[in-house]
């Protein structure tokens, strides 16, 4: 196979526990996003569009749906015979076996895989960020600066800087210090979790890191500081496009709404930078005679007979006559039945909302027993995937509806089906 100058390793093993019920059965990178995508489509499409043809996806937690979604990589043109996409779960060897302990350990456990590709550079990505980036530009900067590592950073508002991993740099853009969530930030350059490493250097540091019993085997907390301490040249590469970590219910909702309110920022219509996604094999969507669809995005297989305002409707979702959906996200295959009023809700995959249900921020009087301060904020209500919700219930904002456990009865969640993968 032609030698690959740079290969990508996508960290897709995290539990995504702050998304609550949405990552009950599926890994965070497989969570639906933006009407026709899954979160990991962005990282994968960035690779394809950047000409990167060898991509390792490191999985661990609930990988079934993710594996099945990614398949052989065909949808992203990554089903190469030589190189292409590889799913890399933890494994056993004569030396023993371990689950991935941290981001750096996950790469450490795949040193042999990377060595076999003989790359000069390794790109480390996270599978759960929404952005479009040409990694070739970053590689060019890395090579020109003769850096050992290059970290993509973005400017964040100063008042938010203390929530991020902050890079302090000199005038040439070299990183002089890395501070994880500093109380008094000296810079507002936050790490995006996108790293390019010269592979031989990283390899050394991974082996050293593994031997340190006190290390948490994390890039941000351990490997980057060790490289700084070791006098390596670390470059900050400023990225000023749209970028969002969709790690919480609020940021997931907000990032979906950005597609409606600030569509030019991520620009999904860019024909030169397509976001590839797995085809759902559905026909064009149908809008019925008495329907109204305003300020929304829709995709294949959707059927709208009711009213949809300022919402993101995913493939195969159905809104029946007389139902009203507003400021909401309908995930694939979800059904909103007649007479419902859905306001600022996220409806999980294949979930059926019974007739005349009212849910969300505008419900003043209703069931409060599903309110979840831990996951929900800003009035967003979340219905898990595969649920069947009873008719006529009213559910207040900030609620999260979980599946029934076996044998448990519930007057609101009538049934829950363990999801089939795609």
């Amino acid at each position: 196979m032609p030698k690959q100058q740079m290969i990508a390793m996508i960290l897709a093993g995290g539990q995504g526990s702050r998304l609550g019920v949405l990552t009950e059965y599926i890994a965070k990178p497989a969570v639906p996003f933006g009407s026709k995508y899954r979160i990991i489509d962005f990282a994968l499409s960035n690779c394809t569009n950047s000409g990167i043809e060898t991509v390792g996806v490191l999985t661990q937690y609930s990988p079934l749906e993710l594996n099945s979604y990614i398949g052989n990589g065909y949808s992203w043109d990554l089903d190469r015979n030589l190189g292409g996409l590889s799913i890399l779960p933890p494994y056993q060897s004569m030396a023993g076996s371990d689950w991935y302990k941290g981001t750096a350990n996950a790469i450490y456990q795949n040193i042999t895989f990377i060595d076999n590709q003989k790359p000069d550079y390794v790109l480390i990505l996270s599978g759960d960020h929404i952005y479009k980036q040409d990694y070739r530009e970053m590689l060019r900067a890395h090579i020109e600066a003769e850096a050992d590592a290059t970290i993509a950073v973005r400017e964040v508002p100063w008042e938010e800087a203390s929530r991020f991993g902050i890079m302090n740099t000199d005038e040439a853009g070299n990183i002089t210090e890395f501070e994880e969530k500093p109380a008094n930030p000296k810079s507002n350059l936050a790490s995006m979790g996108v790293y390019i490493f010269s592979w031989q250097i990283l390899r050394e540091y991974l082996i050293a890191d593994e031997q340190d019993p006190n290390s948490r085997n994390d890039f941000g907390q351990n490997v980057i500081p060790a490289m700084l301490g070791g006098g390596k040249k670390l470059l900050a590469f400023t990225f000023d496009g749209y970028w969002k970590d969709v790690g919480t219910i609020f940021s997931l909702w907000e990032s979906n709404m950005d597609l409606l309110d600030r569509p030019q920022e991520i620009n999904l219509q860019d024909a030169l930078w397509r976001i590839y996604t797995r085809n759902t094999l559905q026909p064009s969507h149908y809008v019925g005679t008495n329907a109204s669809v305003v300020d929304s995005i829709l995709t294949d297989g959707v059927e709208i007979h009711g009213s949809v305002k300022h919402s993101v409707i995913s493939s195969g979702a159905i809104v029946e006559e007389g139902a009203e959906v507003k400021d909401s996200i309908l995930m694939p295959g979800s059904v909103v039945k007649k007479g419902c009023k859905i306001d600022k809700c996220i409806i999980g995959i294949d979930t059926i909302i019974g007739e005349n249900v009212e849910a969300g921020i505008s419900v003043k009087e209703g069931r409060e027993d599903f309110v979840s301060e831990k996951f929900c904020s800003d009035g967003i209500t979340v219905f898990g995937s595969g649920l069947v919700i009873a008719d006529n219930v009213k559910i207040v904002g900030n609620s999260m509806l979980f599946p029934k456990e076996a044998g448990q009865t519930c007057d609101v969640v009538l049934d829950s089906i363990i999801l089939g993968v795609i």
Partner: protein, 368 residues
């Protein structure tokens, strides 16, 4: 699951002309239903019936057909063994050195190199989500030389109509566009026969210098061969003319028809384009329409099919129309009973109106 049949799809039919839509593309490659080409239906039906080896018999206009089919990967037919093969015209035969019609020679070679017992030969003017499994099973059981699929769907008759007359379920007469049909059985453009029999028929045709190959070529052998009928009751749309193309398209707006074609367990595959989701802006009005990914909808759309990547401008009004891929309908344009082919632009304020029987057709890449 069908495992011992291969397929042949005939991409063109000299009796069927859709006017401007077919000037540069084969009938099989005609866009249909928002995101499909007509051939997607037969090809998907075959794939869903377990057929893994399909030859597409193409005439000269095969550029857009090749572009649409690619490696066959969208139908999961990009295979090392078997898979999808386009049989182009003017291909020299490995087995015949005669100066005889080369389209048939290429088909003969394709069959000769295959291993399957049966061949399903299908025209590409039928829009349906068919299972061929039972069809082939019945053929095998009956011991007939050929089995022909038909239905009684008189609604969708239209020229050309191949009327089949059976006696004791054996074909005894075949009429093309009869004025007074003696039978209400209308061919569905699909027959099954053994590969060796088809090769024999082709050998004879080559020897005679015949060049036309289609399902009639086989059906008209009803005197020499035992041809039995197989009734199919699936929802079927026949495309025989521009008018039936238009009316078949409009029938997709019936939710029942839409579900029968697309929401069964068997899906219709097509080339994937990775367009972004469709965007609906404020002040649009959409009613009883199929809209595709990549569209920006600002104006009014009624009773219409809008293909991928179409821009429907402010205050424009589209009713009873088919607007194909990447066309732009600019501000204030008004269209009724119009078919706009790909990549065309209808400028601000332009008004076009056809009738349902004679829709106005604007050809590909034109600015009106």
């Amino acid at each position: 699951m069908l495992t011992d049949a291969m397929g042949i799809i005939i991409a063109d039919n000299s009796r069927i002309q859709l006017g401007e839509l077919n000037v540069e593309r084969a009938l099989a490659a005609t866009p249909f239903g928002g995101r499909y080409r007509i051939i997607d239906f037969m090809l998907s039906s075959m794939v869903n019936s377990g057929v893994k080896h399909v030859g597409i018999l193409a005439e000269t206009k095969y550029s857009s057909l090749m572009d649409h089919l690619g490696t066959g990967s969208h139908w999961d037919l990009d295979r090392l063994q078997q898979g999808l093969r386009i049989i182009p015209p003017y291909m020299q035969s490995e087995f015949f050195r005669s100066p005889s019609p080369q389209d048939i020679n290429g088909l003969y070679d394709f069959l000769k190199h295959s291993v399957h017992m049966y061949v399903i030969v299908a025209e590409s003017n039928i829009v349906s989500n068919i299972s061929f499994t039972q069809f082939v099973k019945e053929h095998e059981k009956s011991g007939a030389d050929v089995t022909a699929m038909y239905n009684h769907d008189s609604n969708s008759f239209g020229a050309p109509n191949i009327s089949l007359t059976f006696e004791d379920n054996r074909l005894v007469d075949m009429m093309i566009d009869p004025l007074n049909p003696t039978s209400d059985c209308s061919s569905l453009g699909a027959v099954v026969l053994s590969r060796t029999l088809l090769m024999d028929l082709l050998t004879q045709a080559i020897a005679r210098g015949d060049s036309l190959f289609n399902t009639e070529f086989i059906l008209e052998k009803y005197r020499e061969l035992t041809i039995r009928g197989y009734e199919n009751n699936d929802m079927t749309l026949r495309i025989n003319s521009l008018a039936t193309y238009f009316s078949a398209s409009m029938r997709l707006l019936e939710i029942d028809v839409l579900h029968k074609l697309f929401k069964s367990e068997n899906r219709i595959y097509t080339k994937v384009k990775n367009e972004s989701p469709a965007r609906y802006f404020k002040d649009n009005h959409v009613s009883n329409s199929l809209i595709s990914d990549g569209c920006d909808i600002i104006g009014t759309v009624e009773n219409s099919l809008i293909f991928r990547g179409v821009n429907v401008g402010k205050h424009s009004k589209i009713s009873n129309c088919i607007i194909m891929q990447d066309s732009v309908i600019m501000e204030g344009a008004e269209l009724k009973n119009v078919i706009i082919d790909k990549d065309s632009v209808v400028r601000s304020g332009v008004r076009l109106q056809g009738s349902p029987d004679y829709p106005v057709v604007i050809r590909k890449g034109v600015i009106v």
